[in-house]
Symmetry: C2
């Protein structure tokens, strides 16, 4: 298939595929006329990249998975290098989540304080019955 079809099947754009190629992640055969052509393996490789991107991976971080697939493994994470990246990203995620939860807690406290100090009391944003609940729960 050519670049337009691959892009559409993967739910992305031709620009993105050319960009991946420029980064050395997605190579293409060429027709005599210079058109890029791809096969189903390329589609799988591309889907792997997109999945990881959706997970928040930077492009460079997808490279071990791409290499793994290129080596003939059935999945991109069937290699130690990919697994190492998984581990690193999970640790990053855990740290980030922890940070965000801390910020969330601080902001929640600030909000409560600020609301309490407002001249006219806790601003009735929208009347959900009474003030029994603000709708936000602080579960861990």
């Amino acid at each position: 298939m050519r670049i337009g079809e691959l892009a559409e099947r993967a739910g992305t754009t031709t620009r993105t595929l050319r960009y991946y190629e420029s980064r050395g992640l997605l190579t293409a055969r060429r027709t005599e006329q210079g058109y890029r052509t791809y096969d189903e393996d390329d589609l799988r490789l591309l889907q792997q990249i997109r999945t990881l991107q959706d997970f928040g991976f930077e492009l460079e971080e997808t490279r071990p998975f791409v290499d793994c697939l290129r080596e003939g493994h059935p999945t991109g994470d069937a290699c130690p290098a990919s697994i190492a990246v998984y581990r690193r990203k999970i640790a990053e995620l855990d740290g980030l989540i922890e940070q965000l939860q801390a910020v969330r807690a601080q902001m929640g406290a600030q909000l409560l304080r600020a609301e309490a100090e407002l001249p006219h009391g806790p601003e009735p944003r929208c009347e959900l019955g009474t003030e029994r609940d603000t709708g936000t729960d602080t579960e861990g």
Copy 2:
């Protein structure tokens, strides 16, 4: 005080302060020589901005807090507009945390699966005695 001192006291750079000024967030009086001068109120305003930035606010989102302080309120969140931003950001945070936790769970599962399918079993990354500890610390 002049820009250098303010920057240092706020733990930031002169470039940043000029940038804030260009965005209309931090105004300055001028000496006859054209030097920017600031007072303690400006420092407080700047600290407010920096705190919010640390919370992950975009500059534009700090504007209501800045306006609030300029109106003479003791804190930047003593105004309805600021509180509205708090609420929005908290909702954003909650959504983001939820997303990240979902991604985290998926990646954890993927990692387990991939490890299990590795030829030589679950890769002994490094032998830390036994598996008594995963060693995650919370960086600042």
